[in-house]
């Protein structure tokens, strides 16, 4: 009986020794399975798609900012001259949204510009599965960012002009000639088509005698 017991103890010790020496190998087998690998890969794929749309929005915003100032933030036929209570009264967010939506036409579902700019481009879906489980990683590609243009500042300038048309110098025009006041304001830093930095200035004018506010007109 003692011999049998000692024999068992020797065998058990050997097994325990072997288990501990193989411990590193056994750990590897629990590292990651094919389903988990696919989930990681799908996450990376979604990151790539997100980045694509982030860059798409970034470049199109640069182009939009440039076009936004070309005509003084008002339609072409206003000739850079603001006139309140008419089609030549600037509506900054709406005008910016209109230009941007033309630039990314057919590539987005929804576009909103408030405190932040939010563009819902598309949906993504990356299914993965194994014999035992199916996992679908899906969602919406929505890009949210601060607009390059500080619309609040522009609104303040507009309000200043509107409320102080008699004393328009309070609003810091760059120059004036008779009743026509010219304004020039830096509104953004962008990258141009050669991806070189460029400062963007909004230039427009106001004819105080024909401002649409009915004071001097």
């Amino acid at each position: 009986m003692p011999i049998v017991t000692i024999g068992f103890l020797i065998l058990m010790s050997t097994f325990i020794f072997l288990i501990f020496t193989h411990q590193n190998e056994t750990k590897e087998f629990f590292s990651i399975g094919s389903l988990q690998s696919n989930i990681i890969k799908n996450y990376f794929e979604s990151e790539k798609v997100f980045y694509y749309y982030e860059k798409l929005l970034e470049y199109n915003e640069y182009k939009t900012v440039k076009e936004f100032v070309e005509e003084g933030a008002v339609p072409d036929d206003c000739n850079k001259r603001w006139k309140f209570n008419s089609d030549c009264e600037p509506d900054f967010r709406e005008y910016f949204k209109q230009i941007l939506s033309e630039k990314i036409e057919g590539k987005y579902k929804e576009l909103g510009i408030n405190q932040e700019m939010e563009v819902y481009f598309t949906d993504f879906s990356f299914p993965s599965g194994s014999n035992s489980a199916k996992v679908e990683y899906n969602g919406e590609i929505k890009i949210k960012k601060q607009p390059l243009i500080n619309f609040q500042e522009l609104e303040q300038l507009k309000s200043c002009i509107e409320s102080s048309i008699k004393e328009i110098n309070k609003c810091s025009p760059e120059s004036s000639s008779g009743s026509i006041y010219k304004f020039r304001k830096k509104i953004a830093d962008i990258l141009d088509e050669n991806l070189e930095p460029e400062e963007i200035f909004l230039e427009f004018e106001i004819d105080t005698k024909n401002s649409g506010l009915g004071i001097f007109s």
């Binding site: 009986m1 049998v4 017991t5 068992f8 065998l11 058990m12 097994f15 325990i16 072997l18 288990i19 193989h22 190998e25 056994t26 087998f29 629990f30 590292s31 990651i32 399975g33 094919s34 690998s37 696919n38 990681i40 890969k41 990376f44 794929e45 990151e47 790539k48 980045y51 694509y52 860059k55 798409l56 470049y59 199109n60 640069y62 182009k63 630039k103 990314i104 590539k107 990258l191 088509e193 050669n194 991806l195």
Partner: protein, 132 residues
Amino acid sequence: MKKGDESALTILVSLIVLMIIISQYFIFFVFFPHKIIQPDSQQYIGSEIDLPLMTFVKLNSDLIVISAKNNDYNDLEKKIDELEFDGCWELKIKDRTFNKNNCDIKNPETTIMNIPDYSNNQIKIILNVNKE
């Protein structure tokens, strides 16, 4: 049966049961896992090359765009040369292929990333790494 014989038999049975349990543990966790629970390592390796490509593209996207636009890859090539992968690898940007070591990729592991250029066209970036 004497009282001593009974306790010896109990010990013997207990030891045998214990031996069977430990033997099973030993057999299942040391020998079988090699064949049964092996992960799909190829897919996992695929994910491992995604991250370096994404990092490279995110850090150099403007340079990639301007290089592709001007068809001048000199500055970008310096950045590509800083990339390091185990074994042979190549990076394709649009129709240009960069293979630092001029080596053959016999068994490629591929990952692709697209970025837009300034005119909303797509630039395709493909990384091929030779599988070990």
